[in-house]
């Protein structure tokens, strides 16, 4: 690079019209093609979900939550329900606990498949963009069989779940998982075996676990640094079934730089997440009781009017700590205040620290590797 290029800085707006900018715009200050400053801008999709929740009853509220992140709808609607259950003192039947957990893990797999296609598309590997999306359809078919809807599933409800498993649904879920297990080695080979992929991801977009936690990152973005931080293990929700079985928190360790992770590690980590989710589903499916209620019979009456209280419902989402803080007043039908914590709010913020020093062409991939979903910051 000739020195005169280095004298000038220019500002480039990346998005919101760019194809890889799913509705966000980031201002990058560049020298040559190196980024020196990154200023992420949120707000293009803001729909004020927190204010909307103050005007919806407790049973309606989860419907707003699931629309925030539709690719992991079973997970994104859950924290609100967990908070309502804590305040109302609802007891969830054992059968519903197991069914919830199975569906949340299926949703996690579906979300990671969606992300895998998205990231590969951003890398220019278009075969790898479409193949995971084909497999994702099998999970959507299973969701449709169970709930009648492919994305806005509305499966969890305060006190239990809405629909029981049917033999047709179990067939479709099994078909989706068997196909997934066949295809994952092919995907791993196509990505990790590809020299292009390794050149573009190894040593790019690095950060240390220490910094990542300070920036508020969680979930696979931190587990890729070798830190076993996982709410499913550390703070399991009493109304989910993660404690009933043995499973391991997946982590990835970078051999050259211990305690750090680059884009490659984060991709490897998410493949491991899929394997663990499949393991959890396989272990939980035989535990589902044949009979028994799937919802607390008093739930409808109890969740209509809640006592005064505060509760914090959280769950390990596909992208990290997903939580809702809820405050209610005595006998109110709607929340007094509901605060949503989306994991991607902090992922998007952390770009400000990750991007400086990287090249302009690495921007899309670096951001894509954090698994962004615009709904979580523009709630």
């Amino acid at each position: 690079m000739s020195p005169d290029i280095l004298d000038e800085t220019s500002e480039v707006w990346f998005g919101p019209q760019h194809v890889s900018a799913h509705g966000w715009a980031t201002k990058l200050t560049i020298v040559g093609d190196y980024v020196v400053e990154c200023d992420p801008n949120a707000g293009y999709f803001h729909r004020s979900a927190e204010k909307c929740l103050e005007f919806r009853t407790f049973r309606q509220g989860s419907l707003i939550l699931e629309r925030i992140c539709m690719v992991e709808a079973f997970i994104s609607e859950y924290p609100y329900i967990a908070a309502v259950e804590k305040i109302a003192g609802l007891e969830v039947p054992e059968k519903a606990k197991i069914m919830r957990t199975i569906m949340m893990e299926a949703s996690r797999i579906h979300s990671i498949q969606f992300w895998l296609g998205q990231l590969s598309g951003e890398l220019g590997l278009f075969t790898m963009m479409l193949w995971p999306w084909v497999d994702r359809e099998y999970f959507l078919d299973a969701f449709e069989e169970l709930t009648g809807s492919r994305h806005t599933v509305s499966y969890n409800t305060p006190g239990g779940v809405r629909y029981d498993f049917t033999p047709e649904f179990l067939d479709k879920l099994d078909k989706a998982i068997v196909r997934l297990e066949d295809r994952i080695p092919i995907f791993e080979d196509m990505l990790q075996g590809s020299p292009t992929f390794r050149l573009r991801t190894k040593g790019v977009g690095q950060y240390s676990a220490k910094n990542g936690i300070k920036w508020g990152l969680s979930g696979p973005n931190i587990k890729a640094c070798g830190v076993p931080m996982d709410l499913r293990k550390d703070d399991p929700d009493p109304n989910l079934a993660y404690g009933m079985i043995d499973w391991e928190v997946p982590i990835t360790e970078n051999k050259e730089h211990p305690g750090e992770c680059d884009i490659y590690d984060r991709v490897v980590q998410r493949f491991k997440e899929i394997a663990v989710s499949v393991d959890i589903i396989r272990k939980l499916l035989p535990l589902v009781p044949e009979d028994g209620p799937i919802v607390d019979p008093k739930a409808r009456a109890k969740a209509n009017r809640l006592p005064a209280g505060e509760a914090y419902g959280r769950v390990e989402g596909t992208r990290g700590v997903t939580a809702v803080w809820l405050k209610t007043t005595e006998k109110a039908q709607t929340p007094y205040r509901a605060k949503i914590r989306g994991p991607c709010f902090n992922s998007y913020y952390s770009l400000k620290h990750i991007m400086p020093g990287l090249r302009f062409a690495d921007f899309v991939v670096t951001f894509g590797s954090l698994d962004p979903y615009v709904g979580w910051w523009d709630r």
């Binding site: 803001h46 508020g216 990152l217 703070d235 205040r337 620290h353």
Partner: protein, 171 residues
Amino acid sequence: MSEMSASTLARNIINKIPEVESVPLEVNKVELRVPASKIRDVVTMIDEMVPDVLPEMVFGVDLQDDKYELIYIFWSYRARALWQLRVSLEGKEPEIETVCDIFPGLEWHERETHEMFGINFLNHPDLRLLLLPDELEGKYPLRKSFVTDKGRLAESGLPQPKPRPARGESK
């Protein structure tokens, strides 16, 4: 360093800053009631004593009549402990010191609380609007006094929904 339980850290903080009160929430989850002037001291102590602490969020609650609460949530995965700090604020334009130089992850949460509630974070590096459009600057939509669109339907000129007939009244 051994893992510090939620109540041990709370005791350490109270020994150093006696104005702080602690309230147990659940197993290994503690709420600390912190005076607004001591927030930086408490957050600094959490940062120093718990190396793996995750700053989950900061947000406001409008208690009406110019009273506000700020809630900070910190989580340590190794100790499996959660600390919820509660700060009460008063006034038309309440103020508090920023903590985003200690935990950069809270920078945007403070920025959001500022635009939604009008709580001013002193020494915050960047308090531009984050999520709101420019025309809502200074309107603070998450305050209870903010009139929502439903109440302002008449201004828009759109047809108003017909009121439901009262019980026992014919259509």
